[in-house]
């Protein structure tokens, strides 16, 4: 309990500690009550007058007997009665806490006077003990302060702001409410004026945060302790002055929404005010949630993708074969695989599912299983992709399609047959570095039309020193900081320059070349390649 509170409670005859009670005390206490120039009263929780001292009687212009059993709110200006009633109702529940209420009282001469009341509820007596002081000169109406009302520039700035600009008096009552606030919360200016920001807009929630710097505010600390300490309701003390905080706000229709709020306070002519700038961050929070969900999905997709990749490169007499996928941050649709085919044939597959995320990764799993199964009993790469297409067209979501390149190496004849459904062109680079064959697509992608036939292309007879390169579009389409595409020409040149290296080294060089070109190892799309060197 603060010292000033303790003094006030003693003045009102409320002793904090029975040990301090005067030995015969009541008549002395009566003297204080009678002689005090402060306006003193004792009333029930419902505001019914029990005692008023002479000072208050003089101001109201009625003797105590006349006031008994009347509600003290009858002497309050009509415009302030409702707010005062709400205040007293709340106060009745705050045992032992001194609260401050300011309102206009009707006097004997017909005028009104602004009074600042300090009120203490005593539960055992069901009574409110109050002491008031005339604060003429101070605006207690909760109206917009004149320095705002009269300043065209201030008003224009506030009216044009996209964020809610809410000004409060020292009790946290709204005195200024800009159009953005109307739109955000649903209250118009008339209905929100005088309402408590903390109770009306913030649903009385405890604002958890760091300690703030204390500021004295007419004897009431604006904030000086960790939140959660008891401060009188209706003040701006609970509003985390000086910090930007996130919390849930309450609209007029009762719905909650997340906001970011910054509160500052200032003093004008001895009176404290506070301004809150409030921003609706619903969209931001939604985007954060979506990004988080997407990241979770993509991590799952990348785990699936890794699991589907071959555990090693096949060993085929007379050939050096290597493949790799370097997943991008937000992808996981690329895939490569090696297939065991009849007649000792080795199948090589590179595929790319459109889109990003979990669904494409699942489709990759389907494709892998499908092609492995079909290749077990079929040597015709065109037939395999045609059957795969028929199946996928019925299984994929409407918007997905798959580019796929399926090649078959015959180790004995060294022939390379292939079929390609919309996949980027592969190349056969000869020992002299010249392109011996372009392995162009033979049909459009899988899962576009269910009855698409993917024909097999003319086989290529591979020669010693040949290098077959199969790429995904992630290699060709990656872009430099200057927005130049990597392109097939760069890919071919890079492979050509390193064609004397092993297949694995060529792939490593290709990946490093892509990263250097992009200027980062963080790629927008998966990078996938298979290299087949003919010894």
């Amino acid at each position: 309990m603060r010292v000033d509170e303790a003094v006030q409670r003693k003045n009102l005859g409320v002793w904090a500690d029975p040990v301090d009670s005067p030995p015969d005390g009541s008549h002395r206490l009566e003297r204080f009550f009678e002689l005090s120039t402060e306006l003193c009263f004792v009333a029930g929780f419902d505001g019914t007058c029990r005692h008023i001292n002479p000072a208050l009687q003089r101001m109201l212009g009625c003797a105590e007997e006349e006031c008994l059993s009347r509600c003290l709110l009858d002497f309050v200006h009509p415009e302030d009665r409702q707010a005062s009633r709400r205040f007293l109702d709340r106060t009745a529940t705050e045992e032992g806490s001194a609260v401050v209420l300011e309102n206009r009282c009707l006097t004997a001469d017909g005028s009104t006077r602004p009074i600042s009341w300090t009120i203490v509820p005593i539960a055992e007596e069901q009574a409110l003990y109050g002491m008031g002081r005339d604060v003429t000169g101070r605006d207690v109406t909760g109206r917009e302060p004149s320095f705002v009302a009269s300043d065209e520039k201030l008003r224009t700035i506030s009216d044009s702001a996209l964020d809610a600009v809410v000004m409060m008096d020292q009790f946290g009552r709204v005195v200024h409410w800009n159009p953005a606030a109307e739109k955000m919360f649903g209250y118009d200016q008339e209905e929100i004026h005088g309402q408590s920001v903390h109770e009306t807009l913030l649903s009385n929630q405890e604002l958890h945060g760091q300690e703030l710097h204390g500021q004295e505010l007419h004897g009431q600390e604006l904030h000086s302790a960790p939140l959660g300490s008891k401060t009188p309701p209706g003040t701006i003390a609970k509003l985390n002055v000086g910090h930007v905080i996130q919390l849930n706000a309450l609209r007029k229709d009762g719905s909650e929404f997340p906001v970011e709020m910054a509160v500052s306070c200032f003093q004008v002519d001895g009176q404290w005010w506070a301004t809150a700038i409030i921003r609706d961050i619903t969209d931001r929070k939604r985007a954060e949630r979506q990004l988080h969900e997407r990241k979770v999905q993509l991590l799952a997709a990348q785990r699936i993708q890794r699991h589907l990749l071959p555990s090693g490169d096949p060993e085929v007499q007379g050939f050096d074969i290597a493949g790799a996928t370097y997943p991008a941050e937000f992808a996981a649709g690329d895939h490569f695989d090696y297939l065991t085919m009849p007649g000792d044939g080795v199948g090589v597959v590179v595929s790319d599912v459109s889109g990003h995320g979990f669904a494409p990764a699942l489709l990759v799993a389907s494709i892998q299983t499908l092609l492995q199964k079909l290749a077990e009993t079929n040597n015709d790469v065109g037939d395999i992709l045609t059957e795969a297409n028929a199946f996928l067209a019925g299984e994929t979501e409407d918007d997905r399609f798959v580019t796929a390149f399926l090649g078959r190496i015959d180790p004995v004849s060294r022939s390379f047959s292939y079929a390609s459904a919309g996949h980027p062109t592969g190349y056969v680079i000869g020992a002299d570095g010249e392109i011996r064959a372009n392995l162009e697509s033979t049909a459009f992608p899988l899962a576009v039309l269910p009855d698409t036939v993917i024909p097999k292309a003319t086989s290529v007879v591979l020669e010693s020193g040949d290098t077959v390169i199969l790429l995904s579009d992630g290699v060709l389409e990656c872009r430099s900081p200057e927005e130049q595409p990597f392109g097939s020409r760069r890919a071919i040149d890079l492979v050509r320059d390193h064609r004397d290296r092993s297949a694995r080294e060529i792939i490593d060089r290709l990946y490093r070349g892509v990263c250097e070109f992009v200027g980062s190892e963080s790629l927008w799309d998966d990078v996938t390649a298979i290299v087949v060197k003919v010894e």
Binding site: F330, D399, G422, S441, F444, E477, E483, D525
Partner: protein, 129 residues
């Protein structure tokens, strides 16, 4: 009607004209999906069946563009309509040729020719090859 900083749409009879304005490779993930959804939703509940996509101002042509075209084509097909693409860059033509999608979609040199290629009879699906 689904307009954004990357696309503008116009209506010509029962044909929706989609004009690509910028670099859609800058879209990522959900941004791309939202942009694409707006395009396809433009066909919902409207007296529109056909789509012409004008790529004259598109700075980018790659996989993401193919995805958009595919999605629009699916939506058009569901409405028994037709789709044509016009003002395709050399790179775009190359990509459409490599992927054989130029066998599936009408590629025209200008918007007027694309609109002319869209007839008003019920859409006839292209034959697979």
């Amino acid at each position: 009607m689904g307009d954004s900083r990357l696309f503008r749409t116009e209506i010509r009879g029962d044909t929706l004209v989609v004009v690509a304005l910028g670099n859609i490779s800058s879209l990522a993930g959900n941004d791309a999906d939202e942009a694409f959804d707006k395009m396809t939703l433009s066909l919902e509940g409207q007296e529109l069946k056909n789509v012409v996509i004008d790529l004259g101002h598109a700075e980018y042509f790659g996989t993401l563009m193919i995805e958009l075209l595919h999605r629009l084509w699916r939506a058009v097909r569901d409405h028994a309509g037709r789709m044509a693409i016009c003002n395709v860059s050399d790179l775009g033509r190359e990509i459409l040729n490599v992927s054989k999608l130029d066998h599936l979609w009408e590629i025209c040199p200008s918007r007027e020719e694309a609109l002319g290629a869209i007839d008003h009879r019920p859409g006839k699906l292209p034959q697979s090859r």
